[in-house]
Symmetry: C2
Subunit: 182 residues, 2 copies
């Protein structure tokens, strides 16, 4: 890809991420994005059709990065190295603790529901594949879709709580909390 195109794309993502951490998606205008990214109006629209497709692209960028990397990591690790039930989730918390790709800015900001929906969607797929970790006598009676939704939601809410309370706990502690309530 042309270096200019790459740089512009980066500038847009960067400006947008920064704005998302300050205010909610709906109240961000394209005008603000191009001012913040310091690019021309037409340039923005040559990269993204709408503000929504920018959000979509940003989510793809972030989640494909984290989840795909994790997926591959686990194809190796899960089979050969780690069989502890919390590995996948602990890994996610560790990624978040390092604040890869400024993902926490998006989670901590107010109202970034579109982002959270994407996050939960990807997470649900992960949880579905990890359901064997959560099986117990007590839970056998519950509908699977209910359980999957519950676990994904709990994960997202745990992160939200963690971030909104200043990330005082270590990733390991939060992982413990997460499993304690499941």
């Amino acid at each position: 890809m042309d270096r200019r195109k790459r740089k512009t794309r980066e500038a847009i993502f960067s400006a947008f991420t920064e704005l998302l951490s300050e205010k909610n998606f709906e109240s961000i205008t394209v005008g603000e994005i191009i001012d913040s990214a310091d690019i021309g109006r037409a340039t923005f629209y040559s990269h993204f059709e709408t503000k929504d497709s920018l959000m979509e692209a940003l989510c793809e960028e972030l989640f494909c990065h984290i989840f795909d990397a994790m997926g591959k990591e686990n194809e190796h690790k899960h089979i050969f190295e780690c069989d502890a039930p919390d590995s996948v989730f602990l890994h996610l918390f560790l990624h978040l603790q390092k604040n890869d790709n400024n993902i926490l800015k998006l989670l901590s900001g107010r109202n970034n529901d579109l982002f959270l929906r994407y996050f939960k969607k990807h997470l649900t797929e992960l949880v579905s594949s990890q359901m064997h970790l959560f099986e117990s006598e007590k839970k056998k009676k519950l509908p699977e879709s209910f359980l999957i939704n519950h676990i994904s939601s709990t994960f997202v809410e745990t992160i939200r709580w963690w971030v909104e309370n200043g990330k005082k706990e270590t990733a390991e502690t939060v992982t413990e909390y997460f499993f304690s309530v499941l």
Copy 2:
């Protein structure tokens, strides 16, 4: 309050609620609301400053109604009649099953995050006052704010799951599900 004012307010709430069940908050225009409510433009703005404050007022209306009524109901019932740990939450599910005030329309529609935030806010207060129902050895180690957030979130997500899957289960069954995962 003047009958006209009351009727207009009702018409606005009604039109808005209906619209919220069809599309998301952001994509509803004031123009649509006044057309649907069949009132003049200036009339709308004499009642509400913005679309946001209409949403706020609607939430206050609904939640004060449900939660306050429940609060009082429980001041009586809780002490004299029901001491089953699930009473308060079962009551809420029953209210929702009856679809009081079309509250479910707001929960089932996409993206009605502002509404869900209000719902969770009020719910958190309720949960805080009911924390004694959830105490156990296992949970004693966890921070209280984490637990309160977890329980409120689980309740909201349970409702969301229930509604989005067609409300096939009875209120009693969903209440069981809710307590099973806590």
